[in-house]
């Protein structure tokens, strides 16, 4: 690092502390006035534990399967998932459905297509088909729902919240790394309908007035693996599923990253000692 040890002049220390004091004052003033205006924002979501966080994180297959079930039985009434194909559900690093299950699932959907004569038809889906859109376009969706329900393919990466200074700086550091703002927000939002008399009031939604009325209630979706049939569990599972939908290559990425880092550390070590040897006679 750049040397500061020769720095014994009082004037330097005074100036540094003055500069720091001025900046600190400016920041605290800025922050305090910002908090005063914070009311329009939603509450800060709680940081949940996710199997896919951390350097060795992987998706919990059973959780993704449960989450898909919640999506299919509840969310899919209004929200499309159109960037995914049915076949993705059997991809490596995903929910781990079998090819047969995916084929059967795809066949339950009716897909718009053209036959050999060029006539518009509907046919049963194949694994290579994308999840169909629910509405022709956003206007058609808005006409039914008041506001077009967003497609959920990327929602877990398209939603976030601010952790504020200085915590947002910690989020990038090894050991503290935090990338799960999206799933935490989704989980919080689905549990944020805290005013029973107002189904559109949400604690975590910016402005607290959300177009989507409370979508989940206890015992709504049947689980076969004994997991609790609660809103808390449903929301957790569907948030994990949506994270996978948004980032299907997460496991491959983290695995590759570990190999890359191990290689780079060894390579750097070898270069360091080579460098030391070469420079040994240069002083």
């Amino acid at each position: 690092m750049i040397r500061l040890n020769e720095d014994k002049d009082m004037i330097s220390f005074k100036s540094i502390s003055l500069a720091v004091a001025i900046s600190a004052a400016a920041f605290s003033y800025a922050q305090s006035s910002a908090f005063a205006q914070e009311e329009g924002h939603g509450a800060t979501p709680h940081m949940e534990k996710w199997s896919f966080s951390g350097m060795l994180g992987t998706y919990d297959r059973a959780q993704l399967q449960r989450g898909f079930r919640v999506y299919r039985e509840v969310c899919s009434a209004c929200h499309s998932l159109s960037r995914l194909r049915f076949g993705n559900l059997a991809d490596e690093g995903g929910p781990g459905f079998s090819e047969g299950q995916v084929k059967a699932l795809a066949a339950e959907y009716q897909i718009k297509d053209f036959n050999d004569k060029g006539e518009a038809i509907e046919r049963p889906g194949f694994p290579s088909d994308n999840f169909p859109k629910i509405f022709a376009n956003d206007d058609a969706a808005a006409a039914v729902h008041g506001k077009a329900p967003p497609d959920l393919s990327l929602i877990a990466k398209a939603r976030s919240y601010s952790r504020g200074f200085p915590f947002f700086l910690l989020d990038m550091l090894p050991g503290f790394a935090y990338q799960e703002h999206g799933p935490d927000y989704i989980h919080a939002l689905l549990n944020g309908y805290t005013k029973p008399d107002d189904p559109k009031w949400n604690l975590y939604f910016p402005g607290n007035q959300i177009a989507m009325p409370k979508p989940l209630s206890d015992d709504q979706v049947e689980y076969t693996d004994g997991s609790p049939k609660t809103v808390e569990q449903y929301s957790r599972d569907v948030a994990a599923f949506l994270m996978w939908a948004a980032e299907p290559k997460l496991e491959e990425r983290k695995r590759t990253g570990l190999n890359a880092l191990i290689f780079l550390f060894i390579f750097a070590g070898l270069l360091y000692f080579t460098k030391k040897k070469i420079w040994a006679d240069a002083h």
Partner: protein, 417 residues
């Protein structure tokens, strides 16, 4: 410093070729025999790191181009296809988007190093100004590239930035319409931004050649800030000394880069850019990429649009005048006790402006941004010219060899600080 090459190829074919096109001699003179000051610390490795990043960006970028579609209805989906269906597509895209950030991390370190050690002072003014031009081209390239995924921040960022030009008196509106190729950011804008995003990196590469050429004429500055007086005592040959040291530094930097690509790839991005561009819905806060935030804060600190845009461009342009604004005869901050304090205050000021650039332009944030903007310009226009007059520098070592000896006490040690 680098005279005519004395390089003689070993093979007869090599000698035949060399007498017709002395390219091997040029490479040998530039990257093997080139004398580098022996007291360089690791802050000098960022030139090599930046060269690596430029090449990495061009390679990942060209491959991404093979899968990307610059059309408003397809661009966002084509990027998602890269992420989901292209083999290693997720890696290419994350490497490219984080690579841009790493490129800026490295360039900021490189610039602050130049600022700390007075690398812009005579005879290196042209070298420095070429660097400022590279930085400007990088800013343009980064901005154009951020538009291409056609997410909400891409679209609205492009709208805000191109609107700067409407601040030009009289012809502003016409210029902006001309830039857009229409009456708002749309398909023609995306098309030309794509073309320019592909072009500018090669312009950067061209100016980098000039930058390196200028460097090899005047020689590298060094932590002591004294010129090379005796090539044998003060310097070591580029290869193997600088080559191995720079390689080590590049690999260490790659560790940082890999961390971002593989473990926090979206940290430096914005969630809204995973929402497809929608001209009818404006995001609550339009925030540029982090590397523009200090300038964005300066822009918004000034109450008038034209004034803000002028201040913003001025804050970059002023860097080109640095060689003449700094009146001190001593280069290195190691021997400038007062400058050193103001230097670190300036670093804090830039970080503070960066933080404020990401906050809403209201209340206390605006006041803080105005204070820091004043300091930013004050540093260049008032502090630097006056320091040369009022500051008493410490004694400067006579030669680089003396500086190395004084530091090591005659004992061999790491050249890194």
């Amino acid at each position: 410093m680098s005279g005519p090459s004395t390089f003689v190829p070993k093979s007869a074919l090599g000698r035949w070729f060399e007498s017709r096109l002395p390219i091997m001699g040029l490479i040998h003179g530039s990257f093997v025999a080139y004398p580098t000051p022996r007291n360089l610390n690791y802050w000098w490795a960022f030139g090599a790191i930046l060269s690596f990043m430029l090449v990495a960006q061009i390679i990942t970028g060209i491959v991404l181009t093979m899968h990307y579609t610059p059309q408003v209805d397809l661009a966002f989906s084509s990027v998602e296809t890269i992420m989901r269906d292209v083999n290693w597509g997720w890696f290419l895209r994350y490497a490219h988007s984080n690579g841009a950030s790493m490129f800026f991390v490295a360039v900021y370190v490189h610039m602050f190093r130049g600022l700390y050690y007075g690398s812009y002072k005579a005879p290196r003014e042209v070298l420095w100004i070429l660097g400022v031009i590279i930085y400007l081209l990088m800013m343009a390239t980064g901005f154009l590239g951020y538009t291409l995924p056609w997410g909400q921040m891409s679209f609205w960022g492009a709208t805000v930035i191109t609107n700067f030009f409407s601040a030009i008196p009289l012809v502003g509106e016409a210029v902006t319409t001309w830039l857009w190729g229409g009456y708002s950011v749309g398909n023609p804008t995306l098309n030309r931004f794509f073309a320019l995003h592909y072009l500018l990196p090669f312009m950067i590469a061209g100016v980098v050649v000039l930058h390196v050429w200028a460097l090899h004429v005047v020689g590298q500055n060094n932590p002591a800030g004294v010129e090379v007086k005796n090539v044998d005592r003060d310097t070591v040959p580029f290869t193997p000394y600088a080559t191995i040291k720079d390689s080590f530094a590049v690999v260490c930097f790659l560790i940082l880069y890999a961390w971002f690509v593989f473990y926090v790839p979206n940290y430096l991005g914005h969630a809204d850019n995973y929402i497809e561009a929608n001209p009818l819905s404006t995001p609550a806060h339009i925030v540029p990429e982090w590397y523009y935030l200090p300038f964005y804060a300066i822009l918004r600190a000034i109450p008038s649009k034209l004034g803000g845009v002028t201040a913003m461009f001025g804050s970059i342009a002023i860097l080109a005048f640095l060689p003449w604004l700094d009146t001190s005869r001593v280069r290195s901050a190691a021997f400038r006790p007062m400058y050193r304090v103001f230097f670190w205050a300036f670093v804090l000021c830039c970080l503070g402006l960066g933080y404020l650039g990401a906050q809403p332009a209201e209340g206390g944030y605006i006041i803080a941004a105005r204070l820091l903007t004043t300091f930013y310009f004050g540093f260049f226009i008032i502090i630097l010219p006056l320091l040369g007059i009022f500051e008493t520098p410490k004694p400067v070592p006579a030669t680089i060899a003396d500086a190395v000896l004084a530091k090591n006490g005659g004992v061999a040690a790491q050249p890194a600080e």
